[in-house]
Amino acid sequence: MITKPAEMDFSQKKYVMIIAGAPGLGKTTLALSAPNPFLFDVDNGIERVSAEHRCVTSNVQKYEELLADMQSPEYNAAETIVIDTGGSLVQLMKDWAKKQDKRAATNGMAMFGVIKQEFDRLTYQIRNVDKKNTVIVFHTTEQSKGDNIQVRLSCEGSSKDIVWTPADFGAYMFIENGKRKLGFSPTEEYFAKGSYGVHGVWDVPDLSGGKKNDFLTNLFAQAGESLVNELDVYAKDREAYAAAMEEGNAILASIKDAETATAAVPALRDMSHALTSKDELVGKLRSACKELGLTWDKGAKAYVQNNA
């Protein structure tokens, strides 16, 4: 189905978010601030969450039980699925993976291959089939890179590498001057990912005094608003871009020889451009000229035939 930018509707958009950080910072509580959450407590951490912030929780000992709980009415009713933690989920998948594939039973690499595939399938199902927000919590580990210490997701195998591609947000949680912070922009110390106007470092609210745990609910709502606003602004740019590309492509289509190629240069330069239309069209002009065997003569300020 082809949709024009002006017809796109993101009101039902579901978000995928990664929350990473050291133990004890309140990552699970933060994850549970997403809209109407359902928690897969693979790390057995729900008891560390204050009673008023707990939600419907699936405690499982086997991956098969987790898959069964995805058929429950409680799961179906939830708007957000929280996986706590991604690293523990991979551990849980190990026995299951060994039963899926003969090689995986004896070969560690094959086993992690099966896990990676299943991790990908599972997150795809939550996001695209079941149409729910997904929040995956990770502990972190440190690695040295040159003079710097870099923080990375703690997770065996390479499943951690596939979660970033579909993620809308990847936030690193840390303490600065006694306050909890969430970093959405990559730095030398940590990797992160922001979008829809959510960038930089955000303060994580203190929940003492019975404050509502709704940080991610608000963040998703704000991202939704930004998405709509961005769409409005971008729609104008896109419209101008589409018009420029149409006009520019018509100019390029007229190029048949050195004379028409030379005439295309001021025509492309003087027309109105938007986004990257100028660079794209100039790139296409150069390719077209190359195909016709034309080169730019700086002195004559004109295209000339190579063998002329």
């Binding site: 990559p186 960038h199 896109r238 660079d279 790139g283």
Partner: protein
């Protein structure tokens, strides 16, 4: 005016990093001095992969190997302008530079770069000089690395708002050349006319 490219900066950055392989500094010197060097098997593999994507996008030519990855990436870049060259004059600490780069694909405000790597770990391109350099060259808001590790395709996206300027890296590079007595090599091989 001195020409400067992401490839030169990247070669220097890698050659002077802790995890540089043996011979990396010699490769950097070759790049600095404009000397040809034998491409590694990894480089050739990367070129073949990128060419397969380009052929599929341009002519619909079906890929011979890595079919799914080539098709996946071709779908993303389809409709964009391939191999777009960008040039921009920069004035840094009173010195003129001509920053030059070629975007694999440019499409509606996004730069795409195709990478074929033998081992991928997320955040691999976080410290790359490529997206800071290319944000200087093109009026794009996002830079997407399209990465194939032989098994699957990954995307790493960087936004202009989150990306530091390339200027600081260029300053550090020039400081390094001066400290290492390599500035004469740079001047000899990378000087270009101010009229470019």
């Amino acid at each position: 005016m001195y020409k400067i490219t992401h490839s030169l900066l990247s070669s220097w950055q890698y050659a002077t990093s802790e995890d540089a392989r043996e011979g990396a500094f010699d490769d950097f010197l070759c790049t600095l001095r404009g000397e040809p060097f034998e491409p590694t098997e990894a480089m050739l593999k990367g070129r073949r992969f990128e060419e397969a994507v380009n052929r599929l996008v341009a002519d619909g030519a079906p890929p011979i190997e890595d079919n799914d990855a080539v098709v996946d990436i071709a779908k993303i870049v389809q409709g964009g302008a391939p191999q777009v060259r960008g040039e921009k004059g920069l004035l840094i600490n009173g010195q003129k530079f001509l920053l030059v780069g070629v975007a694999d694909y440019l499409k509606a405000g996004t730069i795409y770069d195709i990478k074929r790597t033998s081992r991928y770990e997320y955040g691999k391109y976080q410290d790359s000089t490529q997206h800071p350099a290319y944000f200087e060259l093109f009026p794009a808001s996002a830079f997407v690395y399209l990465i194939f590790d032989g098994y699957r395709v990954y995307q790493e996206t960087y936004y202009r708002a989150d990306t530091p300027s390339i200027e600081q890296t260029i300053i550090q590079f020039i400081d390094f050349l001066r400290a290492s007595d390599l500035m004469p090599d740079y001047i000899e091989h990378w000087s270009v006319s101010d009229e470019v």
